[in-house]
């Protein structure tokens, strides 16, 4: 049962990933600019021979459908193509940049969940009272803040003005980076036993992960609150109250458990917004992750890396939502897959 469910869900991934490549390719086909011109200096771009050589080197002289077929052929053998911008295989780039994003996304997600869920519960329990108003206000600020601006404010206050936290980047420039194992500096430095690097990496994580997590925090608070409020109007909650259960038991045993499913579902869907946030956060904090990589390459209409980043984020997104579906079984014994 479980196996066939997993298989079915994993099979659905294939057409979606295929469509992503197609959509990305169509977007780049509309390009009025010539990628070759992007790569060359102005002087070189005037030399026809150089231009022709560059176009041949990157396969730009072929017809669009040929280019797409070629790309798909490579993709099926695990090759994501090459980036004009970095002049390296996209796979190598992703291997280098993805761990940095993961290292940033984990504390951001934890912050969003650990603050957002309790705040949402408090708001629902104290619906229409001042605790509710405060938490609604905080969550609304969370989803309304321009991330780039919050990043700038955080840097100018905590780094430039107070000087209590480090500026952009992942590590203090004086410190030798630990040998690369996972690509996540906190873990790598611990493995190397380099406490100085570990503490520097940790300090560098504080501001960007809070900035990145704030939007998710606001979103999760709002989702949790509305799911709780909706559950509270149900008959079984009224029954529980009328049989004299104390409010704490009603909230924890009856409301929370039943509100868990819509909350978890929405959290899974909200995971996608983390990536959009990562683009801005990584740009502001000079964080060498896939968000900044996508931003840099998108600005130059560099096809392969954009698709590469999108494929990897879509994959993560689909897997997260698969985990969400699996968690239903734990949350609600009535559900069978």
């Amino acid at each position: 049962m479980l196996l066939s469910f997993l298989l079915r869900r994993l099979l659905v991934i294939i057409p979606v990933l295929f469509l992503i490549t197609l959509l990305g390719f169509i977007v780049t086909l509309l390009i009025p600019t010539d990628p070759a011109a992007m790569m060359l200096s102005e002087k070189a771009a005037q030399n026809e021979e150089i231009v022709r050589a560059v176009r041949a080197r990157w396969g730009l002289d072929k017809a669009p459908h040929e280019r797409y077929l070629l790309y798909m052929q490579h993709l099926l053998s695990g090759d994501l193509g090459e980036s004009y911008t970095t002049k390296r295989p996209v796979k190598e780039d992703l291997k280098e940049f993805f761990p940095a994003t993961v290292e940033l996304a984990i504390p951001a997600t934890l912050f969003a969940l650990l603050v957002g869920i309790p705040l949402g519960i408090i708001a629902a329990v104290y619906k229409d009272r001042w605790l509710d108003h405060i938490s609604r206000f905080i969550s609304l600020i969370g989803v309304s803040l321009p991330i780039f601006w919050l990043g700038l404010l955080a840097l100018s206050f905590f780094y430039a003005y107070l000087d209590v936290l480090p500026g952009p980047g992942r590590l203090n420039s004086r410190i030798q980076a630990p040998p690369r194992v996972t690509g996540m500096l906190t873990i790598d430095s611990l493995m190397a036993g380099n406490i100085e690097a570990f503490s520097s990496a940790l300090q560098h994580l504080i501001l960007p992960s809070l900035v990145l997590g704030l939007y998710g925090m606001g979103l999760i608070t709002r989702i949790t609150r509305s799911a709780m409020v909706e559950t509270m109007t149900q008959d079984f909650v009224r029954t529980a109250r009328s049989k004299g259960l104390i409010e704490r038991v009603v909230v924890i045993k009856h409301v929370l458990r039943n509100a868990a499913i819509p909350t978890v579902t929405a959290i899974g869907l909200a995971f996608g917004s983390l990536m959009a946030g990562a683009v801005m956060t990584e740009t502001i904090f000079a964080w060498p992750g896939i968000g900044r990589y996508a931003a840099d390459t998108a600005l130059r209409t560099d096809f392969a890396p954009i698709i590469g980043v999108t494929l990897i984020t879509a994959l993560v997104y689909i897997l997260v939502n698969l985990l969400v579906d699996l968690s239903y079984v734990l949350l609600d014994p009535r559900i069978r897959l």
């Binding site: 959509l23 509309l30 309304s144 321009p146 780039f148 840097l155 996608g272 683009v279 931003a295 600005l299």
Partner: protein, 274 residues
């Protein structure tokens, strides 16, 4: 309905914030103490009130920030509203077609919407804008192309749900054409909830447009677009006012639209009635 709206605190806070900015935008020529593009190189980078008349200070070219914010409202807000209107129109049409015709048309539209949703919105918008070339108009198109799937899915769901209702089946059995049923019975039913989503999305569209401008893909200088103005404050930690006030403007107007959306939801959603 109107009374419930007026009694709703979120709705009123939202209407107030949005109203202030709309007024400010409309009255910018009267309210703004300076021309938004007028440079004054003798008064460059002045802190708020350091020079009389510059309430929020001046930027690196000596332009008055308060005036630029007011004129900027004339750009950011109308563009976001137009973008959401275009998005809703596109999404609703595709969703209605998808739900109504079904079959392979439905399959194609829904799979395209899946793929679009799979793209991180900002990255797709950036790629499209970079492709079309930087500019406000192009970034508006990009945002439309990124945001439509949610409307399409919502509308499709509504069509499938409402089609089962007796009054729609009655209308169909009375010989009402498909298009007529759609326009007369299904679309009007879906509109109230659309207002909620549209209001929340205007906030999102403002944020997206500002983000695009911030990375240099949206408004072209010297336009007083808020995202571009905030970008001018980058790396200028000591001259905090250059970036802070445009950001506050964005925050306040986006909060306004979000409050408005929340309030509308309370008012329009029958489940929330007490």
């Amino acid at each position: 309905m109107l009374r419930r709206f007026i009694r709703n605190r979120s709705a009123m806070i939202g209407a107030f914030l949005v109203g202030i900015w709309l007024l400010g935008a409309a009255a910018a020529p009267v309210l703004a103490p300076y021309e938004p593009l007028k440079q004054d190189l003798r008064n460059r980078i002045k802190a708020p009130l350091e020079v009389e008349g510059h309430y929020l200070g001046t930027d690196t070219l000596g332009r008055d920030i308060a005036s630029r914010l007011l004129y900027g409202a004339q750009i950011s807000i109308p563009i976001a509203i137009v973008v959401v209107a275009m998005t809703a129109l596109l999404g609703i049409s595709l969703g209605a077609v998808s739900g109504f015709i079904g079959g392979w048309v439905d399959e194609i539209i829904m799979r395209i919407s899946d793929a679009t949703l799979a793209f991180p919105s900002l990255i797709l918008a950036m790629a499209i804008t970079a492709t079309l070339g930087p500019g406000l108009f192009n970034s508006a198109i990009a945002i439309t192309l990124v945001l439509w799937p949610e409307y399409a899915r919502f509308m499709r769901g509504q069509v499938l749900r409402v089609r089962g209702y007796e009054y729609v089946q009655a209308a169909e059995s009375l010989g009402m054409g498909r298009l007529q049923t759609l326009l007369r019975h299904i679309v009007p039913n879906a509109i109230p909830l659309m207002w909620v989503k549209a209001s929340l999305d205007v906030g999102q569209a403002i944020l997206l447009a500002a983000s695009l401008s911030f990375i240099g893909l949206g408004a072209v200088p010297p336009n007083p677009e808020w995202g571009a103005m905030a970008a001018a404050g980058r790396e200028k930690f000591a001259e905090w006012w250059i970036g802070t006030f445009p950001g506050l403007a964005i925050l306040s107007v986006v909060m306004g639209f979000n409050f408005l959306g929340d309030g509308l939801r309370d008012v329009l959603d029958p489940r929330n009635r007490r």
